[in-house]
Amino acid sequence: MARAAARSRRRRGPRTTPDTRAIVAPPGALGGRYAPLTEGEIERIHDAALTVLERTGVEVQASEAREVFADAGAEVDTATDRVRLPRGLVEETIAAAPTEVHLAGRDPRHDLVLGGTRVYMGTGGAAVKVLDLDTGAARESTLADVARFGRLADALDNTHFYLRACVARDLPNELLDVNTFYASLANTTKHVTGNCFTVESLEEVLELATTIAGGEQALRERPLVSLVTSWTVSPLRFAPETTEVLTAAVRLGVPVFLSSAPQAGATSPAALAGTLVQLHAEELSGLTYTQLLRPGAPTVLGYVPSVSDLRTGNFVGGSPEFALMNAAVAQLGRRCGVPVYNSSGLSDAKVPDVQAGYEKALTGLAAALAGSNYIHHSVGFLESLLTVAYEAYVIDDDLNGSIMRMVRGIEVTDDTLSLDVIDEVCGPDGEGHYLGTAQSLALMNTEFYYPHTADRRTREDWEADGAPDLRERARLRARELLDTHRVQPFPDGVDDRLRDRFDLQLPPELAAAR
């Protein structure tokens, strides 16, 4: 027996670590254990939001959107541009809205099913600066950065989607959207989210995605791209231009994230509950709009509650109040049975330092444990959304792996209670420790999350290695992944067709998926 086992072991050749990452920290693990609001409080906030929509209303200027509301029975005050939504209309909308939104990656292993308490964490935003991997200094972001961050996101285990990391500041506006989506899709097989500044560029992006997906039907079945639309300007105002883009996206069947980002104390009440009321009202006004436009349109509630530092007026992304509110919104979305997008895991720190670490851990953990479905901004973001860093991608991916491990929780079963193992180890023939048990062997790769960058060695080993700090170690890993990670290419001929059709500026060597 023992000899047979040894033989079969030998036959396995050199030991390789099995790929158990998806078991340790599974994408889509079920959250919902952390609940900052009680059931009663959720109801009060929800009810208050409906009151806001009915009493205060939202500002919608004369537009197609306003007509859509008017046709549905909303009260339109043309003198003040206020649209007041009857409670019944909003409640009916909520009841009929899709409870799940399916998003696809080029590789189906990366598909996302948003809804319920399934948690996914990913990148986000549109940083305008990058900490240069070589110099460490902040500089303007470029299209090459969009591509390289995409490739890194593809390589990292605990980054579940790629919302473009930064702005290609080396491109003119007309080329921006289509090139950003191209650089992203060419470098990752994960789902790609972005934004479009105009309806025309949205149409281009859609044509690009259709070509990659292999046809309109294929794209509809497997949406490789989705759109963030900041259609409101808090408090309670529809922004005409972005609403136009939202309208087009809904009509074209693109999954949309209704992003609204009020700052408590500045563009929403200083009372956190009041910010939640206003934000929930804004989200419900948007949901009502998309569902009136096209019943069943794939829509994700995009709550981004933040804080204004009232000492300066600065935007704050790393505070405890931010963490509380971004967890609470997962509960509000769930109350409506509609998927939730939110923002967490960002920081106000300028470099990946201790401040960055604790701010990211606080907010990311809170939102994930609360069961938010699509947590963006959670990889690499610094300086209150203005800067992104390669080494921070690597560090935050490890943090998010740890968070997803916590979301997964503790499995309590007859087996895991371990009665027999305990009895055996502590029994007369037992070893007195668990290091060599069959259970330890069986679970060593699935029960524990092993960070790539955290240092758990002895001080002596660490010093012998030159005593590198986390940032230094993460830089090494980022470089290594960028140099070695290969991305699954587009289907044959697709890249040439895209380059013929669009003015694509990304140098071919940076289009990993060619």
Binding site: V167, F197, V233, E241, R311, G313
Partner: protein
């Protein structure tokens, strides 16, 4: 009505005490009290310009310093700015009658394609606090909008805000449109917004970049001081 005890009779104060009190009331954001103080000073026959400089501007200077140092918070500064505005409403018509330097007017807006306005609003409010008349054009404003507003209000200062890298370049177009309309030389152009910096401001031919609202107010006073000898406090 307050009781006789805490109702201070302003007429019993000497001039120095009156101005000191005005400054304190301003600091505390007591709009009505500031208006009373200004009214009393004018009733004593003081020139509007002196009331402005010795009373209001002096008071606001301390507000600016304490905001910068983190002692006062934004809501407190806004209260003070509102009190300042209350006092200015009384003074402005009188200032206009005399040949005293104008306190200055600022036209401000967020440029076309951009809907970010929190920073712009903060700057506007700080400028009001500094005694300027502020014309806020709102968000998503075209070069034509800016030109028309400058033609109408003839401001000393024009402020543009952009939070997007994609809308920043539009600031240059506005400056060019102003030049074409022959309005550029009479104006100080200030620009700001998170992605904007000194270098960019210089490249597009703006007069100043300000990284925050406190710096904006300070810069405005310096610029106006240089041109019109308006009180250059702070």
């Amino acid at each position: 009505m307050t009781t006789a005890d805490d109702e201070l009779d302003l007429t019993t104060l000497d001039d120095a005490e009156l101005y000191e009190l005005m400054g304190e009331d301003l600091y505390d954001g007591l709009r009505e009290d500031v208006i009373e103080g200004v009214t009393e000073a004018l009733a004593r026959g003081h020139a509007a310009y002196d009331v402005l400089t010795d009373g209001l501007v002096a008071g606001m200077e301390q507000v600016g310093i304490d905001f910068r140092d983190g002692v006062l918070f934004v809501p407190e500064v806004l209260l003070a700015a509102s009190a300042m505005k209350g006092g200015m409403e009384l003074l402005r018509p009188r200032l206009a009658e005399t040949d005293a330097p104008r306190a200055g007017t600022l036209v401000i807006g967020t440029v076309k394609g951009d809907i970010h306005d929190i920073g712009k609003n903060l700057v506007g409010m700080m400028m009001e606090g500094a005694g300027l008349e502020v014309i806020d054009l709102g968000i998503n404003r075209s070069a034509d909008d800016f030109v028309a507003a400058v033609q109408e209000h003839r401001p000393e200062l024009l402020g543009m805000s952009a939070l997007l890298t994609t809308t920043m370049p539009y600031m240059r177009e506005v400056i060019e449109a102003l030049a074409e309309a022959g309005l550029r030389d009479d104006l100080h152009v200030l620009v700001g917004g998170a992605p904007v910096n000194e270098e960019f401001a210089e490249a597009i031919g703006a007069d100043a970049y300000c990284r925050d609202a406190a710096v904006a107010a300070q810069t405005a006073r310096q610029l106006l001081g240089a041109r019109t000898a308006v009180p250059a406090g702070g």
